[in-house]
Subunit: 159 residues, 2 copies
Amino acid sequence: MSKTQITAEPGMPQIIITREFDAPRDLVFRAYTDPELLVQWMGPRDLTMTFDHHEARDGGRWRYVSTDAQGNEYGFHGVFHGTPSPDGTVQTFEFEGMPGHVALETLTLAERDGRTLVRTVSSFQSVEDRDGMVASGMERGVHESHERLGELLTTLQAG
Amino acid sequence: MSKTQITAEPGMPQIIITREFDAPRDLVFRAYTDPELLVQWMGPRDLTMTFDHHEARDGGRWRYVSTDAQGNEYGFHGVFHGTPSPDGTVQTFEFEGMPGHVALETLTLAERDGRTLVRTVSSFQSVEDRDGMVASGMERGVHESHERLGELLTTLQAG
């Protein structure tokens, strides 16, 4: 059974996340690129995600808002560096609750025997920023997101 | 006398560069933002820099080419995250000779008594990428660029 690995070495301004999914690479890439699929799995189950825009091209901007049951809204935005592809999608990431703190996220997808290894490297501007992200409870969000993504990929392949 | 400080701690995927210039912040910001000024100081003296484009806005793309005396060309490109301002300019950076290796650069300018402290933090995707950048001889380029920038700022203030 595949399991999400989150690596945040002490003193390093990075978080590395890996997870294998039982789905072909093109489908996983679609789930990471198509905003209609992204809203179905990204984030914890008790938050609703909506996209303002998601321009998946070099210089394209993205922004989404997560809304909790109480109606509180959390905005996130960034831009794409280069054209997103299964070999590499590079984008910036900023949580609007902490303006001015930006991370660089790199997503790579590797297929082997019909399964896909997803790897995300988040590079922060400082160790403090990285520690803040870990302290924010992102771990639960990542695990729940991956669980939901696994379910979505199963549904898409059955459909 | 102000001196350029380059910090690259072992095992850290970052380079931090600081330097104080004897010029007001708005002028230093212009020198970092206006491509017509940028080509006059960025890079070592023996390279000629030309911009393909330099869209200093959220999602804007930039690309320049450095050409040496032998006609060899070195391309660099990236995108801006957010609108560049003296408080913070965030952009991605990729050397086209090493495609797929991207850094996040943050420039901040702080003024005190008419002088401006310039600070650049470059966050790399890995320590290997960072070490590669240091090994490329960037240090000479940074020192020479800052020397040229100091000269340009003096000329602009005299003019």
